[in-house]
Symmetry: C2
Subunit: 126 residues, 2 copies
DNA sequence: TAAAAAAATTAGAATAATTCTAAAAATGAG
DNA sequence: CTCATTTTTAGAATTATTCTAATTTTTTTA
């Protein structure tokens, strides 16, 4: 692992958020001010291909990078806020339904977050 | 519904594939050669906001548009081929796990398609 | 139905996201 | 240390998408 690769890996793994390439770039610059955006692209792709990080694609948002530890995602349909959550593991059920071909799955659950819910409730009253 | 909106809606709903904006544009041009790409963007966004079509985002692929009818997606980890599939409905289980806040979910299942499986098997033998 | 208002479409510029290329720098093996 | 390999850099190129303002089409209404 090169120094940038390692640092980028650490940034992603210690963050509680789901970072975009731009955010990783901003973070990386604090330690290495001369680094260039293409380096971030190169390294996140390398890490992703090596399955050391996860890429999260959501409609109308740029890709985000996340720890590999298995978990699901909760997305607010109003503000697009993205939160980690763990639902009951579906592996057994999916393997049963589709056999040995099964590799992995990605589950996104949509809801309206408490903040947006509150905001909408207030709007209705006025 | 405007003529373009309707036609785009029909293209998406009668296709067995998962179309990109470019593919919809190409198809639409057959009937309306003067149409412009921005019109496709305008209309798919309008349809998507009205929840009349579905947007499918997968890592490293441009967004695709799909019929709204509830189904899951199967994605080959080798060739990225995207297929429709229906797994056991998770609504009840998710509602039980997270309560009334639950709105909907999106499940993607990864596997290696028969063609890629075959190709890899052959490669191993040589 | 004609004129006015509203909505949709167009062309093309602008922006954003990502990849590519070739040169320079860093690393590593012998 | 020296040559070969890998990584990084800078910036151009490409792709995807949005925006703007003018034009066209559709709808409303007097």
């Amino acid at each position: 692992m090169t120094k940038y690769e390692e640092k980028i890996y650490n940034i992603i793994n210690t963050s509680t958020e789901h970072l975009t390439v731009e955010q990783i770039y901003a973070e990386l610059k604090k330690e290495y001010p001369k680094v260039v955006l293409a380096t971030v692209y190169n390294n996140v792709n390398k890490l992703w291909k090596a399955r050391l990080i996860r890429k999260v694609s959501i409609e109308n948002m740029s890709d985000r990078y996340d720890r590999i530890v298995k978990h699901d995602h909760l997305i607010c349909q109003r503000c697009s806020k993205l939160t980690d959550i763990s639902f009951e593991d579906l592996t057994a059920s999916l393997r049963e339904q589709m056999g040995e071909e099964f590799l992995s799955y990605d589950l996104k659950v949509f809801y309206i977050c408490p903040e947006c819910r509150e905001r909408e409730k207030n709007r209705k009253h006025t």
